[in-house]
C-alpha cells in the first residue's frame, strides 16, 4: 500500500497542473487595466491648445457636470473613425467634451480640426504624454466619462455604436 503513494500523488499533481494550464488556454493574454473607475480625477496642469494659457484640472472640471475627456491625436486613424460620434455628442447640453491632444504637432492637429470640425469645448495639449499616464491611459483614442470630479467610466479605443449606448445610459 505504501509504495503506491508516490505514483498516485504524481498523477494527481499532473492532473492539477493540466487543468490549470487548460483553463489558462482560454483566457485572453492581452491585459487591459480595469482600474481607475470611481476614482477621483488626477490633478494636473496643462497648456491650452492654441494659446499659452495654463490651466489646472480644478479649473476645467466643475462639480455637478458631466464631462467627456477624449484623448486624441491627428496621427491616430481610429480618432477619425470616432470623430462623427463626438460631433454628435457635442449637441448634448448636459455634456462638455474636453480634448487632450496627445503627442501631436500643432499644425497637423489644427488641420485635423479644420477638416473634420471641432467637437471639443476645450482642448489641452499633452506634448510628452505624461498627462495621459496620470489618467491611467495607455493609447489613443481613449475616453473618460467624468461626473463630480470622479471617473465613472472609460472607453478604451474609439467610440462606436456600442459604446455610445453606454454613454447615453449614463447621461440619462
Amino acid at each position: 500500500m505504501k509504495f503506491k503513494f508516490f505514483p498516485i500523488t504524481l498523477f494527481i499533481f499532473f492532473i492539477i497542473v493540466f487543468s490549470i494550464f487548460y483553463k489558462g488556454l482560454k483566457n485572453s493574454n492581452i491585459y487591459t487595466p480595469n482600474l481607475g473607475l470611481q476614482k477621483d480625477i488626477p490633478f494636473f496642469e496643462a497648456t491650452v491648445f492654441n494659446s499659452n494659457k495654463r490651466v489646472n484640472s480644478d479649473e476645467i472640471f466643475d462639480h455637478d457636470q458631466f464631462y467627456l475627456m477624449n484623448i486624441w491625436a491627428s496621427w491616430c486613424a481610429p480618432c477619425r473613425e470616432e470623430h462623427p460620434f463626438l460631433m454628435d455628442l457635442k449637441k448634448r447640453e448636459k455634456l462638455k467634451i474636453i480634448g487632450l491632444n496627445y503627442k501631436d504637432k500643432k499644425r497637423s492637429a489644427k488641420n485635423f480640426l479644420l477638416e473634420l470640425k471641432n467637437p471639443y469645448d476645450l482642448i489641452i495639449s499633452d506634448n510628452d504624454g505624461t498627462i495621459a499616464i496620470n489618467w491611467g491611459a495607455y493609447g489613443v483614442p481613449e475616453t473618460f466619462i467624468i461626473y463630480n470630479r470622479k471617473i465613472i467610466d472609460k472607453i478604451i479605443g474609439p467610440i462606436n455604436d456600442n459604446t455610445i449606448l453606454k454613454i447615453n445610459e449614463i447621461l440619462k
Partner: protein, 120 residues
Amino acid sequence: MKLIKYLVIIFFMFNLSFSIAQSKDLKTKIAKNLRCLICQGQSVHDSDSEFANSLKILIEKKIGEGESEKQIYDFFRDKYGEWILYDPIFNKKTYFLWLLPILMFMIGGAIIMKKFFIKK
C-alpha cells in the same frame, strides 16, 4: 612577475564591472521592472512605443522630484494595476506563485529523503 600580471588583470576586471554597474542608474532599473502595456512581453526600457517613451519621461521627472523607487512603483500600480510590475507583490492572488517553488523544493527533498535514507 606572474602574480603581478594576474593582480593587474583582476584589478581592471573589477574596475570595469564597477563602472558598468554605476551607469545602470535608477531610471533604467525602474524602466526594466515595468511592463509595457502596448507591446506586452517587453519591458518599458526595451520598448520604443509612445506609451513607453512617455513612461520613461515620467520616471525621470519623478526621480527629479525626489520620489523613492517604491513610491514610483506604487504610483504606476495605482494607475495601471498590479500587472505593470514584473515583480508581483504577495497577496491572495499570487501566493500560489510565490509558494510553488518552495513547495516543489520540499517535495523534491522528501523524495530524496525517501530514496536515500528511509530505504536503508
